[in-house]
């Protein structure tokens, strides 16, 4: 368990990997409850507050997006090691989602199409970008649970603000993640 924080608030962390940030937008869609959120939780590493490195262990980590490159994998593992409970959020984290559409094609074909044969590519001069600073693409897009152990899933593209809110507040109430079916039924 994470060490008790001074304020004794549960620590939450969030991250966006190969996602569109839509899941994060949905989290912010809790509207004015954001004020309550700050009262109830302590936010550690997250794109929302721009904390880059964990400064303490988190109780709950929310992951948006799957893994499309080696950096995603490293970050996801870093998250896994620093969160007690890791939640796979949204269709991309859970199944690969839209980015995984490329999984049907060999990676090389995608790269050629995007960089070499693109209408805007300068003939004969275009290259597939590469630099040590740039992440390397994986052979396919992986859902998070194929890379690390995932404890819970929040389905949806994105899951609604209510789902985020109910999930996080159930944690506080110690109710676990039993969400009403109506909130996560999509058909």
């Amino acid at each position: 368990m994470a060490e008790q924080t001074a304020s004794n608030k549960p620590v939450v962390a969030t991250i966006s990997l190969a996602g569109c940030f839509g899941c994060h937008m949905s989290l912010l869609d809790i509207d004015d409850r954001i004020v309550q959120f700050i009262d109830l939780f302590e936010l550690n590493k997250s794109p929302v507050n721009d904390i880059k490195k964990f400064t303490k262990r988190a109780h709950v980590g929310l992951v948006e997006g799957g893994c499309c490159n080696d950096e995603n994998v490293k970050v996801l593992r870093y998250f896994r090691e620093n969160c007690d409970v890791l939640v796979s959020v949204g269709a991309c984290a859970g199944n690969g989602g839209l980015p995984a559409l490329r999984n049907k094609m060999p990676l090389q074909e995608c790269l050629v199409e995007a960089y070499l044969d693109a209408p805007t590519a300068e003939l004969g001069k275009a290259i597939i970008p590469y630099d040590e600073e740039l992440p390397k693409l994986l052979d396919r897009v992986y859902p998070c649970h194929e890379v690390v152990k995932i404890d819970y899933y929040m389905p949806g593209c994105p899951p609604s603000a209510e789902v985020f809110w109910d999930t996080l507040t159930s944690v506080i109430k110690g109710q676990g993640f039993d969400l009403p079916v109506e909130l996560i039924k999509y058909d």
């Binding site: 990676l107 001069k125 597939i128 040590e132």
Partner: protein, 609 residues
């Protein structure tokens, strides 16, 4: 084009432009053209008054129908477990070499199409293949070479059937290599009975009395579910409606099962007579034999038998002089889909649709074929009826056990000395069974096919084959201790993945999850959690599926784990950090990217170079 249009129109007219006869129409078109051309659908659209989309919906469901030009000779090699146990790999390679094309494609000059198919009902004489639906059994690489060479040289397919498995080829209507391989007959099918005796006896009683007799016999369905036959009939008799049907389920798709094949070859009269008895009992005038396409080689033979029976007035008007009782039978072919053995999917298929199981209730006894009350029984169930009605229900009840009376035909294949069909009395122990078939070092037995149970042979010697203990549906595949059991369990899971009709999401997706997790286990990348995951998914699939396929698809893994836990446990990965997934390999997953850079970014232009 005009010619094709006329041809298609006359095929549709042959079936009175009746859209429910779509399966027959597609078969006729394919027999004519080698495939079902898109243009033909355009014609059917008008003749049958259904959209091309609806036509394709049915067409695309069945794996024996081709939508694009196929080979002059289409070779379907059995890829099932019984074939794998007898050297499938070498035969597979031989066909690819000799035909000069890969499985799943048609060779350049269009002579050969190579395809794989699950169990074709020849497990006792594998490896086997169907060439234009003609069975070729006990294949060796040399035989493959000879067959392909002869066909290439223009020899007739029929001329290649040289040895005759049934009746020495004396019967002009069935010249086939397929052997019956009956190893042992019991008190029922071993009895000599003359055609019509059981039916004549029935016709002396009222239909209600016939149903009572079948109830007294304690006969339970031999198609797998084991429902009381007499009970099923009484429901159907009581159901409202003046038109009722008797359907014989001859889809025999459970891998490893072939006993219905033997009944249809050796006891066709008893089978058809049994259908007539059922017809009399429930008040039906029409019987339909739904026969899997894999058994098309029996078509002329069975049609011939039906003709003989009509001549003897066992079928036809006022059957055996019973005024007012008219009954006849037609044969309906399937086109390759295991799920069509499920009774409501079978009805959908007979109505010219995809084989999607229906939501039950209502059950077919109330709302069945064309909406009419319908009794569906397995081949073996129906063929036992003449014996029961001739000798009486209590005679039959005297065999077997208290709760499972009677005898059972077992289809035995795999690692044993005497594969073939055996009639046994229910209650036989596994020990007696193994001795009977000559399985000296049996390790595991797949009882009742993949949807049944994989038992540990040595630990189950005293278990009894009957409903109250080890339910024996017909298929018995034996594995000796040199076999990699999980490899075959994996095949069975793939079988369910491929044969799921797809209407229930848990079955469509869950079978894949279970299969992939099994792969992970076999690769040594799984931990206890992955194993638990399989069982959790298995439960969801079983609880939420519409039909028996989904209800049982977890069985290969669940039963082999129950009976051979060590096979799984020794493969679990205890070392990798449990927070990481051991099957994910970062180095390997960026190899494609490195290769793409190297191959596409020419030297000098690569920023990194």
């Amino acid at each position: 084009m005009v010619r094709m249009k006329n041809q298609i129109q006359s095929i549709a007219e042959k079936y009175s432009n009746d859209r429910t006869r779509l399966m027959d129409i597609f078969w006729d078109i394919q027999d004519l053209h080698g495939y079902i051309p898109h243009k033909a659908l355009r014609v059917l659209e008008e003749s049958l008054d259904i959209s091309t989309a609806d036509l394709r919906e049915t067409l695309s469901f069945y794996h024996f129908f081709h939508e694009s030009p196929s080979g002059k000779f289409n070779i379907y090699l059995n890829k099932d477990v019984a074939s794998q146990l007898k050297g499938h790999e070498a035969i597979y390679a031989a066909f690819e070499t000799e035909c000069n094309c890969k499985f799943g494609s048609v060779c350049m000059d269009g002579t050969f199409g190579l395809f794989e198919t699950p169990c074709i009902g020849l497990s006792d004489q594998e490896p086997a293949a169907l060439i234009n639906l003609v069975p070729f059994t006990n294949l060796t690489p040399q035989k493959v070479k000879d067959i392909v060479a002869a066909l290439r040289a223009g020899k007739e397919l029929a001329a290649l059937v040289e040895q005759y498995g049934y009746g020495d080829g004396a019967n002009q209507q069935i010249k086939t290599m397929v052997c019956s391989n009956i190893r042992q007959l019991g008190p029922v099918f071993g009895e000599k009975i003359s055609t019509g005796e059981g039916l004549a006896q029935s016709l002396k009683s009222t239909p209600e009395q016939v149903i009572e007799e079948v109830k007294t016999a304690g006969l339970r369905g031999r198609g797998g579910a084991g429902f009381g036959t007499g009970m099923k009939w009484s429901f159907c008799r009581a159901a409202k409606g003046s038109t009722k049907y008797v359907v014989c389920n001859a889809d025999e798709g459970e891998p490893g099962t072939f006993k219905d094949r033997i009944v249809m070859t050796e006891y066709p009269e008893q089978l058809f007579e049994g259908m007539a008895i059922a017809g009399y009992a429930i008040g039906a005038q029409q019987g339909i034999l739904y026969l899997r396409a894999e058994y098309k080689y029996m078509q002329d033979y069975l049609e011939g038998k039906l003709k003989d029976l009509r001549a003897k007035n066992i079928l036809g008007q006022n059957v055996l002089g019973k005024s007012g009782f008219n009954f006849d039978i037609r044969i309906q072919f399937g086109a390759g889909a295991y799920v069509c053995g499920e009774e409501s999917a079978l009805i959908e298929s007979m109505e010219g649709k995809r084989g999607t199981p229906r939501v039950k209730p209502p059950f077919p006894v109330e709302v069945g074929y064309l909406g009419c009350p319908t009794v569906i029984n397995n081949v073996e169930t129906l063929a036992a009826l003449p014996y029961i009605l001739k000798n009486g229900g209590s005679w039959y009840k005297g065999f077997g056990t208290e709760k499972t009376p009677g005898t059972k035909l077992l289809s035995v294949s795999g690692d044993c000395e005497k594969p073939g069909v055996y009639e046994i009395e229910f209650g036989m122990t596994v020990r007696e069974f193994l001795a009977m078939v000559g399985a000296k070092d049996a390790y595991a037995v797949q009882v009742s096919g993949p949807s049944g149970e994989c038992i540990n042979a040595q630990q189950s010697l005293d278990r009894k084959l009957c409903h109250e203990d080890l339910s024996a549906g017909g298929s018995m595949i034996i594995f000796n201790k040199d076999r990699d059991l999980l490899k075959y369990m994996r095949y069975f899971m793939t079988f369910f993945v491929e044969e799921s009709c797809g209407i229930c999401v848990p079955c469509r997706a869950g079978n894949i999850v279970m299969r992939n997790n099994l792969d992970k286990i076999r690769a040594g990348h799984a931990n206890q959690e992955d194993l638990d995951n399989i069982f959790a998914w298995g439960q969801i699939v079983a609880d939420t599926s519409r039909c028996g396929l989904g209800a049982t698809s977890r069985n290969p893994i669940v039963s082999s784990f129950k009976n051979f836990p060590d096979l799984y446990k020794k493969l679990l990965d205890e070392k990798t950090n449990p927070l990481y997934d051991a099957s994910f390999n970062l180095e390997a997953s960026v190899e494609d990217f490195d290769r793409a850079l190297k191959e596409q970014n020419q030297i000098g232009r690569n920023v990194h170079a």
